[in-house]
Symmetry: D2
Subunit: 345 residues, 4 copies
């Protein structure tokens, strides 16, 4: 089969690889129908994720059709269409029993990382019963791809951890794909105001069309002053970090109100400064989280009920064998005005 | 009347001051029966709390007997014995309605800070109905003093925010009075292991006698290694910071398990380094809180039911007019083996 | 002044009464601008609420302008426009400290019940600071009236107690004003399906236009069978009782799924049969609640942010002195197709 | 092998049965070391559980040593000592993903009910990885047997569902084994008062020795009056039903305070009367639950940490082949002063 293979920093190729086979009785082999590229994949390609080694097939999102299942798989059979979760869950370790699948002792984020992933014609999915979801007849396949990673990530790490409530004022720092997923899923809880902060006017305009009530271009405006002006100097109930660098996290520290929440989503490569000299008495809660994808069934219901238009996140479409070109587009997201790029086999 | 008056860094005196009078219809004037000294008072005396100015009467803890009440006070009358809360609550602002009394728009921590306090023969208590609690006949007055501040602080900022649960393993960093209050009140939730970390062997020995299951002298041992050894390399469910400096907070960051909690209690004068490069994916929750003293009624019931022996925290007793001497003892707590010093009028 | 006075079962009159005056320093006297009639007022008029005696001015909803305040009132002054809460809160008893204002030891539901109410030109509001909310310039006065009682009742007793979540399937039994308030406020949490059950096709049609995804006329259809058909025989996540009689509560018992919630809102005059022989093992939660009106500030923000169109509930408008006529209309709600009737001074 | 076999109402025998074998790759066969008898087993023996048919081996509690595991079992191997959970969990259905194992689509309470159980020399355990827990070296085997069912049942259905908190006043209605398990596990949360209500003075005396602060023999005293006297006429924060008949549930309705909880544990054969005419406005929460045994790992830690002395519940000990005699003792529990009877192979 063909697959996108990582060959060290800056090197990738759409090349021939052996088709995966069942290794454990709980495995499934899935023929990929659609997949997409995550910001993390770009980090991998730059060499930022040392666990990923030469020869690895990248990708942890997608939908497909079951090609074969192991003897112990009971929920799926050949021919079933499935959503592949970015997080693999054994269903039986102490973390899985707490629905903290990200820390599964025999899973977690392994696809396209520690084992071969979904940017390929076929993929082996371990612990298939707990790591995939069925796609019913009539469901929109493009929307289903958004359930692999981006919607659960925005919702769990940003919205749920940030405890967004009706009537709240929230700030989302970073209008990339993840920030946009937060923007869409935060609206499940009817906040009164959603302030999107970014440095790209195009993305801010998109955010406005996706439901942001206010946008701030932090290149042109003092974001803290502007937010304080909008909130009667109280700050926001929830500040959500969707970038992954120190300045944006520290901006969240400055934006949060007394009693408020800071929800970190960004993947940070360096430490940040926590201003406990002001925060110690502000009764704030700060959370971190690697997505567990435990809310996929809930999010699936909201997509099916048209409470969210998940396809909005898709800006570009390619054939699967054009994936190298798709990486170029996604890697140049600001200029290309790209959020999610969809690849169809 | 006589009162302990702050006269700038390092200067205090037990001197004559006018007896307080009712200013607002919601005020009460209380004759102090017993009071105590808080670590914060030491900071004030050093000049670390600029809001406290020359001439201020210090102190925010104590019990007393009502001398006079304003026209709008309905819960208390002359002669009633009361616990004075360290936090003043108006009962009607948006924060008080959320039980976040620490941020009361007309209260919060003002006693012995923005208005005269309790280390005096008499004190005026604003918003009396919401800022004091009745002492029933037969209650132990010494234990009641511990309900003004130290027990709610340890319980709310450490135990509740830290979400201590039955069977948990927790670490308390700092075996001073606040750390000891955490130690006592955490046992309401039956954690399996309580690891006390400090640099003073005497305090660690006391902690052991108060219920710590393990103690670590971080001068002599590598606390992180020891905790990892005790927890099968997982870390603790909850790490509670009860000191207020960067190294102890950062120690908590190293001790917490995936999915765990860091509860900050310490009053920090400087920022700390938050290691998001490791914590971003650990699903941790970090909280800060200035005590709201909203749990005083709950804690009162546990004291009355002998679920906690609050008096254990008292190591030294003085007459109220010996308060300057009491400060000397408390200010030299390690050598004096002091936790709380009690002052009786 | 003029007021609607109860004179025993079936007897009411719009007649002259003395204008109220300040009795306690925490009182306010409010000139009524707009008020409305509650289903409970109809019960009072039938003689079903024995606490209400001859001569009582009825009504517990409305907005007005402050005429006078007592000495201890600090949040309001003459001329301020205010929302009057149906629940009076002293702000200092043990229940108010838990935000359970319905059980306030010196308040609760007393307006138009134990003391004179709002269907009058003026009303005295005890504990004014804790029992009213300011109306900002530009706010829609008609929408504000819905914040006195009906929106908090539907939201707190139905939606919050019923723990409605994104993606859920819920059933609302009773499409009267309260059921409609549940319907509107449940959408704050983005349930996937909202099934409205009633016996009046007109009300069901209105429910559909308000966002119900399915409607069932339980006169014509077997509601249990229909709900099971819609839910793959699982039942609904939350069943909300908004009528107040045994058959509708027992219907909720039949509709709820394993692990689900039954939230009672109805005012019941008689006991009901609880089928523990089937429910004991279904892991269900049943709640009751007299509205606390503790969420009025949150709901106010959602109204201001246009997350809800509260005015939709108003079907009829009268002048305040036409109130007897308004009662006739509201008392014949099904025929008159009435939800809330608005009275303007 | 030998096993206790049900042969219709009133008929049981310790007789020869085929030794169980692995049927599914997720199965284990376990050699029983210790087991016990549940109140439910007595109901089965009376013919009250129609799902149990002639020839069924009874029993759903116990510990053992692994004899053999299926190919897909990864957590256990031959020779491991294990706690058998009374609830079988597949780990992958929608209910297991919510930790609501009682409603597992391929499990739940099936042992000694729909499939052969643990009162035998050997038992087959389906979904072994998710339905058993390892016993470490040095653990007390007798205490471990209490983790199969009785401790999780009392804790989950009574204590957790009843939301017992420090300082609370709770009532437990029924001082049988389950009521005693509630009594022991409620103390994890340090309630101020625990009122045990029963009709057997011996059991009440045992309850006192297990930590009840008050006992009421409802044959001799009016339980409602006594509880109101003890609670200043407020009622209890939590009333826990541990019998399973209408009068005891209705007693709980009379005992609960405004804002309080009723937690049902009892297995009810008939409906009860729910007094909504008084409860509708009391802001109460009523819960039902079939034990999920999801807290077994937490309870295990509390047992190991000696936070609870689980063995206290064992009053009688027999050899496994004396099980018919053990049933006679347990079936006559009041006279025999029996709580749990332990059977050792």
């Amino acid at each position: 089969m063909k697959a996108l293979v990582y060959h060290g920093p800056g090197k990738m190729a759409w090349e021939e690889k052996p088709k995966p086979i069942i290794k454990e009785p709980t495995d499934a082999v899935v023929k990929i129908l659609k997949t997409t590229i995550c910001g993390t994949d770009l980090h991998i390609m730059k060499g930022d994720v040392p666990a990923v080694t030469d020869g690895r097939i990248i990708g942890h999102e997608g939908i497909g059709v079951i090609e074969e299942v192991g003897d112990a798989v009971t929920s799926f059979k050949k021919g079933d269409r499935v959503i592949i979760s970015c997080i693999t869950s054994c269903g039986k370790c102490e973390y899985c029993k707490k629905a903290m699948y990200s820390h599964c002792l025999d899973g977690g984020w392994i696809l396209g990382n520690l084992i071969d992933g979904t940017q390929a014609e076929y993929v082996r999915i371990p612990h298939a019963d707990n790591s995939m979801y069925p796609i019913p007849t009539g469901a929109d396949e493009e929307a289903m791809v958004m359930l692999s990673d981006i919607l659960p990530t925005g919702f769990e790490c940003g919205v749920l951890n940030g405890k967004v409530k009706p009537g709240d004022t929230i700030a989302i720092v970073g209008a990339g794909p993840i920030g946009m997923a937060v923007l869409l899923t935060s609206q499940f809880y009817s906040p009164a105001a959603i302030i999107m902060i970014d440095q790209d006017d195009n993305r801010l305009a998109v955010a406005k069309s996706f439901g942001a009530t206010h946008t701030i271009n932090s290149m042109n405006e003092n974001a803290v002053e502007k937010v304080m002006e909008l909130t009667e100097n109280k700050g926001v109930d929830t500040a959500i970090e969707a970038v992954g660098v120190a300045p944006t996290f520290e901006l969240c520290e400055s934006l949060v109100c007394a009693g408020g929440h800071i929800a970190n989503i960004g993947v940070h490569g360096k430490s940040v400064t926590l201003h406990l000299e002001t925060l110690w008495s502000k009764n704030v809660t700060i959370t971190t989280r690697l997505v567990d994808a435990s809310t996929t069934p809930m999010l699936f219901k909201t997509v099916q009920a048209k409470k969210i238009d998940a396809k909005k996140l898709i800006t570009h479409r390619f054939k699967l064998d054009q994936i190298v070109e798709a990486y170029a587009t996604f890697g140049n997201a600001a200029k290309e005005k790209a959020l999610k790029v969809l690849l169809t086999a």
